[in-house]
Amino acid sequence: MKKYDAIVIGAGHNGLCNAAYLAKAGLDVLVLERNPHIGGASVSRELYPGWTYTNCSYVCSLLRPEISRDLELARHGLQVVPYHGGVTFTQDGDHFGNYPDAERLYREMARHSRRDANAYERFEADVTKQTRLIRQFLLTTPPDPTSFKPRDLKGLLEMASAFTGMGEEGLLDTVRFWTMSIGDFLDEYFESDVIKAHLSGSGIIGTALGVYSPGTAYVLLHHYMGEVDGNVGAWGFARGGMGAVAEALASSFRAFGGEIVCDADVHRVIVERGRAAGVALADGTEHRAKLVVSNLDPKRTFLQCFDASDLPAPVVEQARNFKIRGSSGKLNIALDGLPTFKGLAPNSPLMLSDMHCTDSLERMERAYDDWKAGTWSKDPYVDTLIPTTVDPTMAPAGKHMMTVFVQYCPPALAEGPWTPQARDAFGQTVIDQIAEHSPNFKDLILDCEVRTPHELEDEVGLTEGNIFHGELTFDQLLFNRPFPGCAQYRGPLRGFYLCGSGTHPGGGVMAAPGANAAREILADLRRPDVTPPSYLND
């Protein structure tokens, strides 16, 4: 039987990125994907004839430019088109428009609060300070603070000096920022409910926390630290949907000689003499390799792909305690035309971007209270985009595709597991909310795919449907991600590695975990590092 140098479980973007770097370094790499298609949560699928749904992740910012360039993703077909704007509709029929032009934005903010319009400069500067701090760690392996190894001590010193380099007050503000709730943080800048609500969304997207839960300010940072073409914090559409990211990575991987097998459901990691030796598929097929890398989330990896007896007991315990909670749902909608929105001109630039219907922190928080009670938000927070306003490839001309990300939606309901009826009721809640602000919306719906955490888990394999492979709270960040002792991409047994979003620096179609894991693997193999260094962050 053929023995590969490496097997990567899962053809998500991180698995493919990891595989591409291993292949680039000359390894013989096999990627195994359970689904008939690659991409994991970075997929584009034609689920309604003529329409492409970017049906999990839907926008792109965090994808590290170093990787994108190094793996020549543009040559392999990836094009990211930046978008600007955004709007929050208010219950009184007005809205707050997040204009891309600074002065138009100022005037729009001033319409709600002149003070806020000015305070926004301070807010932006303060958040940017934090993004500058964190960005330098994205393409690095976190040091282990419990270790005395020179490399870890050096890493810790570097980290400490980056923090202390912000000055005494800057450091204290950093600590505050990392531990505060987004609601409290925004209260220090703004007085307008709708402006606070608009900005707070980034603090809770994908997370099972409310805007008043400490730690959510950092989650906002996670959504601000990306870039498109050097514009930090900017977001873009991948032309053709997020599947284009995976396709480009796969193409790059194949160009390095890599092999991808779909419909290959990994059942178990084969462990021999305390070492990962290959994988066994659900159909009984076995593949052998010198090392195995998992793109799956830590819970799924350790609790489903291993015999517990093959793992150290504390790791099983840690995996069990790993916080990975489904909190998001998704609607993908085929539209017969472009919907109109109350108060917006049909050609308003605000419609090119994220649209929301939640106009106060209280409504944001109440949406979370529903999740805690084990039901979907009855007045949810939605992040709605119509990519076809920018991307002509995803629907027939004149027709549109809408993606609606919904917060909050629990992995299971208080009364039991999800049922098709409950799923439809959830979908209807969302549609009704949007229809309040868009009179013709309902009439335009040709098809609607509703996805709860249940579908996300079932189809994509995300445990509980958590889009980030685990909560982005401080207990699971940096050297704590996924858990202390396992945060340097090495698994608890030889020859086994993690490369998914459950590792540093986390989820969001960044591809950094995949590249970082490759760097550690290559170091263990004593091969030259072929992963790209971080751009100088000045």
Partner: protein
Amino acid sequence: MTPHDNRMLLDTPFASRVQAACELREWEPWKGYASPIAYEDVELEYFAARNATGVFDLSPMTKYRIGGPDAEPYLNRLLTRDVRKIRPGRVGYTLWCNDAGMVLDDGTLFHLSQGDYRLCAQERCLDWLLTSALGLDVTIVDETAEVAALAVQGPTSCAALRAMGLEGLESLKPFGLRHYPFDGGELMVSRTGFTGDLGYEAWVAPAHAEALWDAMFAAGRNHLIRPMGNAALELARIEAGFIQAGVDFVPAEQVLRHGRARSPFELGLDWLVDFDKGHFTGRSALLREREQGSRFRFVRLDVEGNKPAPESFILNKRGKTVGHATSAAWCPSAKRNVALASLEMPWGRPEDELYAEIYYSRELRWTRIEARCRIIDGPIWDPPRRRQTPAPNF
């Protein structure tokens, strides 16, 4: 709720006149308003301000009205100067700092009448003004859009304004202000400006803006009045040695990298800091800085040769970078090649041998020179008419 004004750039109250006069159609955004870079010729406009009268539309300038029982103590705590010394009818150039003693902005404080103030600034600062008002009884109103203003600068400016009927204006002292009835409303004239020359600023409600422009240009025709754009003003302000927020320093709350902000001392504005007036924001930090020394020195350099040194590194005689130029221009009236520069301490002493690294292109060929710089001690352009009262009636 007010409807949103969705235009990319707004018009100032003088827009109809400015647009008609602006032959070059070159605009740049200034705080959301369309502002002309030049009307027809930068040189002509600059010399109007130095030789006759140049008129500049400064309506987009940020303006706040400050009043209320605590206005004076509030301002005295906000600003580095002793506000009590700025009597009603007087104007003061001043700074405000954050707690760390780093400059947030500079601007002018108009003491309109007892306890009634207007603060004019380059940057918006309502957030900071309201922060500073926590616990105090003051009212702060952004009146940027409610006040239209023209800067009327140059040797014939007084004569031109008098010709408009502003009697007795010649007796107005520098940094004084006076009210005149105008067009059924009120015109305020202050003897202030950004050119370092004789000059005035005229302030009216937007409804009277066009009338003001028309009256002024009609009266000024014989005094060679001419509108001026941003480029000409920029040249005049460098020649005057004035600094500008966002150009010569970064407002402290916009700084991203620790240590990039500047204190008043580091901008050469020691004279604006009054430690004897009681507490003000940044006082403790500035006292500490005065004891322990500053990190930077702000200097005005006379650069050898005639090639301006914008964005130049400033080198010492060993070729080590010791700072950089923040603004630079060949100054036509002073006949000096001026650069404003921020240097690391201790550089910038009179005896230091400094060079500006200048790149310039001629027919696509770039040349790099190191031009010797000398520290300018004293004013660069300071004609006696700037201070004379009564103002000369050219």
